[in-house]
Point group: C2
Chain length 453, copies 2
């Protein structure tokens, strides 16, 4: 890397070109990140034209925006016209509207039409991931005609492993692997090779829905049609991998009780991050204030039996932990389609039993912890057995309630049209804390009335 | 589907074949799940040979195992010999050892060699994802020779979009898109088309490391070499998408405070699930018992000032929530490579400041909550201002501590060689609960000494 910096300082263009000759576009893009802003523009101008467009796609958005500002109109036009349409759609939709307008103006008429039509699909839809660079053939063609056509028109295609067969109205009727054409006799008709089986995506569907289709179909690219079945583009699996990873990141962040950052942790602005985290923390804090209210309600009981207060953190956190577990399991199962909305009843039955089993385990441990401790210490007073019973029975009830609430909340949120991941671990814990206190003090009243209370 | 059931009942093979003609292998696999075990075997035998092998790959493991038992040796041999090697490796490694041995015996000698060598790589390594079905060419060949070779040997190739160039020792020297051969003059030499740039994976690396390479390289398949650079297979992006989704699922489940289930929620056995969840719940419960010990330590203070007990759940949960947030953000950033181990210092600086900001927000709300409440109620006694100060200042300290502990724990675990995701939200919450109590009562002692305490 220091060789590169030296060459740049000396403005030694030959040396720079020699250095970069063996680098892939992603490697060049990575090396550019470590240069000064001025050197970035210099280096980018040195790159051969077609290489520049390739490297550009691997830069992050901030650097892309800076370069577009720094470069002349001709260079910008070259880059944008050569970018893959799906990547370009991403760039255009994330630029400020005025910049998008300017960028669209430098596109060639055909490319502008492509860009505008892709931008016409809703944000987060499959349409925004499409590239129109595929090869479509007609069923009445011969294998020779298909291969000639590919040779003439295939240069821009994102993938050549599959060709798509359309009828005269442009409706998708089949997909055939290019390998089959390579292996078939030259005079065979396309219609003789068709099996009319074809999995496709719809442009207006959510981009995330493509993840499960790609997972179950084992394909590298899938055709996209409009609602009337006309082939309008393809989506390749590399874009779907990105969607899947971004969805998982957002989901994990939400499960952890924060808004999804939507930006890398190290590069998001400090105050923006504080706002995204603080929002939920405040909501949780306001919810948790109800515990103080609930505790205030039982202040008389605590004054009479301080021993009860000792187990409050243990009791409520057990409910929170079991609720966190249940809610994250169900959130993920819903997200990847393992569980559907209609399965709520089966999940509920399963979770009631799980809660009972888990609660019994924790309740038993809790009971013996107090019982054994009381042999050696007088801290739990003369009624330690009743206290141990109170704690044990409360634990069964609270763990069951936490498990049930945690597992049902994601279904409830999905049913109302919200993202199930909103029922984060801390959210469920807070909910269970308040109700857990009520359960605990009610059980205490039942067992300790007449003795401690 | 009922048409199918009827045809099966009537044993009407022609009707069944007609029905299935327009179905894709995944669709046939999905329809089989809803049949009785007997009908599954019947239907499978009706499928044409090559189709049966295709459908088999889309069935889940349990059904695969059942079919292998129900089918004759000839059918089993047909299926296994025609399965994609990467899928077959998955099946073999998940079967009991005795079954694996039997299955290996029915393979043809060449396929057995392939299967055994793939099984030789460690579980979870890139080697286990490999398929040996790629096309490698020599640099001294012409384009015509390459195309003839592809026609003769390409039938089995998993992807034909890229061909790999190897030297006489089998060392990978370049990758070239098949499209370039289709578009090049027939007498051109391969060596003239090479740029000697080639991204590759190493067979012994962890399968998960392939995810970030595929994300940054925008490729559909990548070549795999052994440590000496010899090309031994390729990995396709569809397998990497599965790895990425499984990793995300395991991570989310761990963040939620459970062991990774490693099986779909709806199909994992009840007691196995209880064990995976119960293990962590018990660990957390034992940890949380320390809160009872800590509370016991401050029992005297609580007896003197019951008002302090009222805020215990609010205080400790705020620390837990901020810790959960911080830990999940850092766990995910580490998993996808946004943050490296060496960045711990930058993360720490960032999180101390975040903790201060978030703690100040919650502390202020907490202070005013008590202050405003005290205008209308006498519940917090004559020293409400000191109580409000205690709660406010404790919140700043506890949120800072939660944020710091939550963000550093994943680094610490990674450094020790553990999975950072082990520092789940509930785990951090438990840790912070115990220390939070100590902070709270220490602050209380500072502010309330001489008045309430």
């Amino acid at each position: 890397m220091s060789d590169l910096a030296q060459a740049l300082m000396a403005q030694d263009i030959t040396a720079i070109r020699t250095l970069m000759k063996n680098w892939t576009p992603p490697a060049i893009a990575a090396s550019m990140k470590e240069l000064s802003q001025k050197d970035q523009a210099v280096m980018f101008r040195i790159l051969p034209r077609h290489e520049a467009a390739l490297v550009f796609e691997f830069l992050d958005r901030a650097l892309q925006a800076r370069l577009l500002k720094a470069l002349g109109q001709e260079d910008v036009a070259n880059i944008l016209n050569h970018m893959a349409p799906d990547d370009r759609t991403g760039l255009l939709e994330e630029s400020p509207a005025a910049v998008t307008k300017k960028l669209l103006e430098v596109l060639s008429p055909q490319e502008r039409e492509v860009a505008l039509s892709l931008l016409g699909y809703p944000k987060g839809s499959i349409g925004r991931l499409m590239t129109p660079h595929y090869v479509a053939v007609k069923q009445e063609w011969t294998v020779r005609e298909v291969l000639d056509y590919v040779r003439a028109h295939g240069t821009n295609s994102e993938t050549l492993s599959v060709l798509y067969v359309v009828d005269d109205n442009g409706v998708l009727v089949d997909d055939i692997r290019v390998r089959e054409f390579l292996l078939a006799p030259h005079n065979r008709l396309v219609s003789d090779m068709m099996d009319r089986r074809c999995v496709k995506l719809t442009a207006t569907d959510a981009a995330e829905s493509a993840v499960s289709v790609f997972l179950s179909e084992d394909r590298k690219a899938l055709p996209v049609t409009d609602t009337s079945g006309v082939l309008i583009g393809i989506v390749t699996i590399d874009d779907v991998l990105k969607i899947a990873e971004n969805r998982a990141t957002a989901e994990i962040q939400k499960v952890g009780g924060s808004e999804a950052l939507d930006e890398p942790y190290m590069s998001i602005g400090f105050w923006r991050m504080v706002r995204k985290r603080g929002g939920w923390l405040v909501v949780l804090f306001l919810g948790e204030m109800l515990t103080a209210t609930a505790m205030g309600f039982f202040e008389g009981e605590i004054e009479k039996a301080v021993v009860l207060a000792l187990f409050v953190p243990l009791i409520i956190s057990s409910g929170g932990n079991s609720g966190s577990q249940a809610t994250t399991l169900v959130i993920r199962a819903l997200a990847i389609g393992e569980v559907r909305l209609a399965d709520w009843w089966r999940v509920m039955r399963r979770e009631i039993l799980s809660g009972l089993a888990l609660g019994s385990i924790l309740g038993t441990i809790g009971f013996f912890r107090i019982a054994v401790w009381s042999i050696f210490s007088k801290i739990y007073g003369p009624h330690w057995l009743l206290v141990a019973l109170t704690v044990g029975v409360s634990l069964v009830g609270i763990v069951m309630w936490g498990t049930l609430a945690g597992s049902m909340l994601p279904f409830f949120l999905r049913r109302l049209g919200f993202d199930p991941a909103t029922s984060s671990a801390p959210f469920v814990a807070t909910l269970v804390d308040v109700t857990g206190l009520v359960i605990y003090f009610s059980v205490a009243y039942l067992f300790l009335r007449g003795t401690l209370l």
